[in-house]
């Protein structure tokens, strides 16, 4: 075979690999939209689940996902930024415990999400006796995406040039003044982007919430300390029902979920591009 022909074939094979990925993405979206669009109406957004697919909706699940998202941000942003500031600005990298912290965060980022569900079941739901409540779900999702937020915040903090810190020190600022008035404001766009992406990931998570006990029939609006179900769990619950109509209802709920995630992602990209700074 000539070298030229080989080159063309090889390139075609590579392009094919890439195209399979993209065509699957398109097929998946077309499949979901074709099944779900007829069922995507106001009833889905405003009605509670029901045994009648014509009037069944996902209102409690959508509300719970919204509440959990807000709680998650309240928990995860301070914890993630605090850890990142400690590791980047304060920690002495030669100390063994600081190296252990870093390795620990890397490993946590790769622990399967269902294991976090087991943690939540054992400690929050049963151990603390919190029960199968929305707050427990939000706390477990916080721990799940905390490593992601830490890693993003560290990168944002690291990209602030040292000259800014040194300038502030030269003017007599203390370390916390440098960090809080110079470093942190400069790192906010990166931190915001990372936090929104982490939020998007958490909202799509199903497995840990199953163990927290979100697979229940909830027909009323959720409260923070009450039983709950979340949007991905509602999709799972619809899928488990035998009637074909509920599969289509699941597809419609998937559209709602994807629209929420797409909005979050677009928002994150917007922030990143708008506030991007080159030093």
């Amino acid at each position: 075979m000539s070298r030229r022909l080989k080159g063309v074939l090889f390139r075609g094979l590579l392009l094919f690999s890439l195209l399979v990925g993209f065509s699957m993405l398109i097929v998946l979206l077309v499949d979901v939209f074709r099944d779900g669009l007829p069922y995507l109406d106001m009833a889905l957004l405003t009605n509670p689940p029901s045994s009648d697919p014509e009037i069944a909706g996902a209102r409690p699940a959508i509300l719970a996902t919204l509440y959990m998202g807000i709680l998650l941000l309240i928990f995860v942003v301070p914890l993630g930024v605090g850890t990142a500031l400690y590791l980047e600005e304060y920690a002495d990298k030669t100390r063994w415990y600081n190296r252990l912290l870093e390795i620990n965060i890397q490993n946590l980022a790769a622990v399967p999400s269902i294991v976090y569900g087991i943690l939540g079941l054992a400690f929050l739901v049963r151990g603390l006796g919190l029960g199968r409540v929305l707050l427990a779900g939000a706390m477990i999702l916080t721990l799940l995406v905390l490593p992601t937020v830490i890693i993003a915040a560290r990168e944002a903090i690291r990209s602030v040039p040292d000259s800014i810190r040194q300038g502030a020190y030269a003017l007599g600022a203390t370390q916390w003044q440098v960090v809080s008035r110079q470093v942190l404001p400069a790192a906010i766009p990166g931190i915001a982007t990372g936090s929104i992406l982490a939020l998007a990931r958490a909202i799509g998570e199903t497995a840990p919430l199953i163990l927290i006990g979100a697979v229940t029939y909830i027909s009323f609006d959720p409260t923070i300390l009450g039983p709950f179900t979340a949007l991905p769990i509602q999709i799972y619950s619809f899928l488990r029902l035998p009637q074909e109509e509920f599969k289509l209802l699941a597809a419609a709920s998937i559209i709602v979920l994807l629209v929420i995630l797409l909005t979050l992602n677009a928002f994150a990209i917007y922030i990143r591009n708008k506030y991007r700074r080159t030093w």
Binding site: L14, L18, G21, L101, N104, I118, W176, P232, N265
Partner: protein, 309 residues
């Protein structure tokens, strides 16, 4: 006074004259934030291994690891985990056979053939595929892939390992593509230029220079993808079924470890019962499996970083 210190010939004092307690408090608070992640790890280990230890006092660890029947609710109960591990391995194998060649191919294209502009668009677009929630992939496997397989003449059950594995492969492909492309991007240009100067074609540069030079990063991406496949829950729960049996036929239903944990944990299992403890015994097995793979992959990534940066 600082000036008198200097005239006296002493070192100038760079330390604060008096301790600022506010600064110490802030540092302490930030350290406490960092400790949360350590507490999470400790919590996971305690949550998994104490009930798992209690489980192994009732069930012999040999029977658990070598038994071929998983029937915790039957009388007499059987606690052989091999059917669950077998289900996980089979679905992981199918997913790997899809994701590894496609991911590697896409990575080589992005790194060696695509223009920087095209790469800037294609790579994030591919990564959106990795951002789709796994429950959506589960839906896709159950409603679309199974029907597609039947249409092309493969007699699969409603719940089957093949659909779950194929869709999981699609899900993992962007992860491999993205991480491998990172590794290939770190290969210095001089290596490519040297090969071209010796008369190599683009194919030869890609397959004999770039891929071997980036091999530790590529393997790391494979290992991370396998680890994700082993820990993935929703696709296998929705599409693969909940029938623990030791089978190598991907057209049949089976049960993966994660699916068992989710299905059992979703019910109201009484705390302290043997059934409750099985969640933790299987969970501990899963945790150890994925941890070993992750540590291996993180080491590999660090190794190739040291070589080229």
């Amino acid at each position: 006074m600082a000036a008198s210190d200097i005239t006296a010939g002493a070192e100038p004092r760079l330390r604060a004259q008096r301790r600022r307690f506010g600064e110490d408090v802030v540092k302490g608070l930030l350290f406490v934030c960092a400790l949360i992640s350590v507490a999470t790890t400790v919590g996971i280990v305690i949550a998994l291994f104490i009930p798992a230890f209690e489980f192994f006092q009732e069930v012999s660890i040999i029977d658990f690891l070598t038994g071929t029947t998983w029937a915790p609710l039957f009388e007499p109960a059987h606690f052989g985990v091999l059917p669950l591990i077998g289900g996980t391995l089979l679905v992981t194998l199918i997913a790997s056979m899809v994701a590894m060649p496609l991911g590697l191919g896409a990575a080589i294209y992005l790194s060696e053939y695509a223009s920087p502009r095209a790469r800037g668009i294609l790579k994030p677009a591919l990564e959106t595929l990795a951002g789709i929630p796994t429950i959506v992939f589960g839906y896709f496997a159950l409603t679309f892939m199974t029907a597609l397989l039947r249409d092309i003449g493969i007699e699969v059950d409603i719940f089957n390992t093949l659909s779950a594995g194929l869709v999981m492969g699609v899900m993992l492909m962007p992860i491999i593509a993205s991480l491998s492309e990172d590794a290939m991007g770190a290969v210095p240009r001089e290596l490519r230029d040297g090969a071209y100067a010796l008369g190599s074609t683009k194919v030869q540069v890609a397959t004999r220079i770039v891929v071997p030079a980036a091999v530790s990063g590529i393997i790391a991406s494979f290992v991370l993808a396998i680890s994700r496949a082993v820990g993935e829950t929703m696709i296998v729960l929705v599409a693969m079924g909940q029938q623990p049996k030791l089978t190598f036929d991907p057209r049949e239903a089976a049960e993966a470890m994660t699916a068992f944990i989710a299905a059992t944990g979703a019910g109201d299992v009484p705390t302290g019962s043997i059934e409750y403890k099985t969640i933790f015994a299987v969970g501990a097995t899963l945790f150890v499996l994925t941890l070993v793979m992750n540590v291996f992959a993180i080491r590999l990534v660090r190794k190739y970083r040291e070589v080229y940066e």
